[in-house]
């Protein structure tokens, strides 16, 4: 789906089926009148948001959406750069640079970013994925011009101070230990990407290898910054309580002064089609086993994405899914199971996983998963399951649009990965059009035995 990639550093890996945390705080936003039309009939689902899109002469893409629910603004600046733009030896550079974006620029130097955001009642954060890097602020609407001034400063004149870099490298090393080295599920995910991709840069982790983190220097990061942090490589999305005309003028005034620069041609190594099954096993001091069956999937924009998304919902989304019923409910061998299709810009991953109960091996679960995938290839899904999956997708899309921040994210990710935010709306029709035949066809195309990778995490045998 065109939601924020499952591999973004910082987002939850997946919704485990028996997750215990409720989210009673997610809800509809007071959207502009007419924000959503035609929902009275389930078969006539249309979303439209009155977005104003324009491109500055320097190539900056801008999306503006008024939303007067509360006197706030959500301000998103995303760059088309991620870990796929790195090379061996400097893995994690895009993420490291994301951290350095808070360490001072020409006008707002040193720790000014943290301090000024705080003094002005603004919260902020950032994230990095395989394909893009995003920065965002949630601010009182009266602070819009200030935030713009700050974002322009660090888009054009970032300082990369070697001392600040040395200290921030330690922070990132702690982040890596926390996300990966001291977190078995993080290790498993890293192993999965390295198993499914052998050639394409998706094979290395977004956060980078520890030895590479230790070796970054200011020069390398500066080159990375100069190359990719340019207006013609960025998307600016502003959603909230403002007048479009006024903000358009502000954007022209502040960002208009920046120069575009030619971007390097991007020739990412193409991942060859997988011909034989891959296996990878990780043995750690854990209480129980986990497993992932993963396949190369369609890239973003491929028409197969929609059917494969729905197929993943039918297999593993929620307690009514096929895998939950068999592995968690009937056999009672797993604590949770999931399936997802994640289409990144150059390739995708279709993955099915289960987390076992302690003392349970993985073979029985693997057999069930193989069987369910086989069924997806050999039988049509029922009309009822298809409808359910479509309703779930629709509802997920609506649920993600309840806040200003949610709208800004959805617009930004669609603009970045498909080239137009409108895919957010047109996708609804594409999901609606998927048939049971389509799901069977994509299952046939992507989930053959020789196309799969089996990645397992097993408890070490304890000697004492």
């Amino acid at each position: 789906m065109n939601w924020i990639s499952a591999f973004v550093i910082g987002l939850a890996f997946s919704q485990m089926a028996s997750a215990l945390e409720p989210t009673p705080t997610t809800a509809p936003v007071k959207a502009p009148v007419g924000a959503i039309q035609g929902w009275s009939q389930k078969n006539d689902l249309k979303i439209s948001l009155p977005v104003t899109k324009f491109t500055l002469a320097n190539g900056l893409t801008v999306l503006l959406l008024e939303d007067h629910a509360v006197p706030m603004v959500s301000y998103h600046t995303w760059y088309r750069v991620g870990s796929r733009d790195e090379y061996p030896g400097v893995t994690g550079a895009a993420h490291m640079l994301e951290h350095m974006m808070f360490k001072g620029a020409k006008k707002y130097d040193g720790p000014s970013f943290d301090r000024i955001f705080h003094e002005n009642g603004i919260t902020n954060n950032a994230f990095t994925s395989n394909d893009y890097t995003g920065f965002y602020e949630n601010l009182p609407s009266s602070k819009l011009e200030l935030v713009m001034d700050m974002e322009v400063d660090r888009m054009s004149s970032l300082m990369i101070n070697p001392e600040a870099l040395a200290s921030e490298k330690e922070v990132v090393k702690e982040e890596r230990r926390w996300r990966v080295d001291n977190n078995p599920m993080g290790l498993l995910r890293e192993l999965m990407m390295g198993t499914v991709f052998k050639v394409h840069p998706y094979k290395w982790p977004v956060i980078g290898h520890m030895k590479d983190i230790e070796n970054y220097d200011a020069e390398k990061l500066r080159f990375f910054y100069n190359t990719f942090y340019v207006p013609n490589n960025a998307v600016l999305v502003i959603v909230g309580d403002f007048k479009t005309d006024k903000v358009k003028k502000l954007v022209e005034k502040y960002y208009g002064q920046l120069q575009s620069r030619p971007l390097p041609e991007r020739n990412y190594a193409k991942e060859p089609a997988q011909k034989v099954q891959n296996n990878a096993v990780l043995r750690k001091d854990v209480q129980s086993s986990s497993l992932i069956v993963a396949f190369q999937g369609p890239r973003q924009g491929d028409p197969d994405m929609y059917a494969l998304d729905l197929g993943s919902y039918i297999l593993g989304n929620g307690t009514s899914s096929r895998l939950h019923k068999r592995l968690v409910y009937r056999k009672e061998i797993a604590t949770s199971t999931y399936a997802y299709n994640s289409s990144l810009q150059d390739a995708g991953i279709f993955a099915v996983g289960a987390s076992m109960k302690p003392e349970q091996g993985t073979q029985e679960a693997l057999d069930v998963i193989y069987n369910e995938i086989w069924k997806l290839r050999n039988y049509k899904v029922s009309e009822q399951e298809l409808q359910k999956a479509k309703t779930q997708v629709m509802k997920d899309i609506v649920d993600n649009l309840t806040t200003m921040d949610g709208k800004a994210r959805a617009l930004a990710v669609n603009e970045i990965v498909t080239g137009s935010y409108e895919s957010l709306f047109s996708d609804l029709e594409k999901y609606q059009a998927v048939t049971a035949d389509d799901i069977q066809k994509v299952a046939e195309k992507y989930t053959q035995q020789n196309q799969r990778s089996i990645i397992t995490l097993e408890p070490k045998v304890k000697k004492d």
Partner: protein
Amino acid sequence: MKNISSVLALSVLCSVMVACSSSSKNVKTPSVPGYVTKSSGSFSLHPYKEVTLENGLKIIFIRDTSLPRISLTLMVRTGSMQEAEGKFGLNAMTAYLLEHGTQSRSATVLADYFGQLGTSLDISPGADVTTVYGDSLSTSSAQLLEVLSDVVMSPAFKESEISRVRSQMIAGLQKKKDNPSAFAEDKINEFVFGEHPYGRDTQGTVESLKKVSKQDIIKHYLTFYRPNNSSMAVVGNFDSDFEQNVSAVFGKWTKRSIPETVVSAPPVNDKLQVKLIVKKGLQQAQVRISTLGIARSSEDFLKLRLSNEVLGGSFASRLNQKIRSEQGLTYSIYSSFDVRKERGSFDISTFTKNETAGKMVAEVLKTVEQYVTEGAKENEISAARSQLVGQFPRAIETADRLAYNMLALDFYGIPYDYLTQFNENVESISLKDANLSMAKNIDLKRFKILVYGDQQIISQFEKYNPEVVRIK
């Protein structure tokens, strides 16, 4: 991601939340008879209506027609606080079992039903309250009401489902060790609260879950899952007929008198205590520093929230600047007051590599001591005020968030005016009051420190004479 603390800060805002005032100045919902609009200056909340049924169930209705969806939240005033000795986990088990079958629907039929609505049920058993949340597209509102009321009012508690849920919960507890952060969280709560229910995992223990019987579950349900012990929020795109249906359906729920809850007091320590939990091979040490804090009803609540904002509430906080930005000792550090119905805790949460665990603790204590002794500076408190006031609208940005906050306020016995008066109240807290509140409530001699890491942490804490627990 640069850091997790801002994400956490928001969730604190919205759960403990009950922390903000409002501003939906452009709410366009037409006025509906019976609905109240609360305003403060240029701000107003979504119009709402409150109804109390004859059986004691309080229902808050908030209409929001901007999206074609509807949500129902039931908050039951029971949790691990109401569990008898040795039956820990009873409430969570009871709560999870609600969706494992009713008198007329099996567990799988229920799962399919919710799936078909495009949704799933969120059941969240806590210490003070348990919430049940469901939502759907508004075209399915009648079905959602029907199935959610069935789940809440007619659970079956079949023996086979009890053993299934028990086994799931036990597996979950066993696997917790693989999640160092969650494990450290449990252990510090146990350390600070002792025998008090806030000290234990709401999921119980492996041993206690085995002792929970079907009779226990039925008794717990019949005693506490009652309309006069609950409140409810109905939010979204609905009409007057739907309101009447909600009242009619839940009006059939029978009330009972609710017994008083008596629990043991948390332990009091008069000198700093350190506990090390050591597991060979861990790549990083989880550090928790806590002490008893305040109840939500405390008059110091807002002052402490403001003061804590300076100490450990954001990227710009003293802890984050000193420990993360200046020394690179961690990726995340924050402090917070976990306020509850009874006295909660003040918590500092962070992690670092095993080699620097001792240094981290020393630096944190130094920073906190200086802050508590000398207090914040005027510019720091002023920034903190801007932060609380500036971010407040997000707490009521959606009707669901507003509803949840109203349920929480109602539970704590705090008037809804809290929301409309929030900005004014925050602005009126002086530097002196903020500093006094911190000095009065935080005493480093009463801190408890828990570190969960590799064995190499032990030698770094010798001077604290720590209790060392080794696990496999």
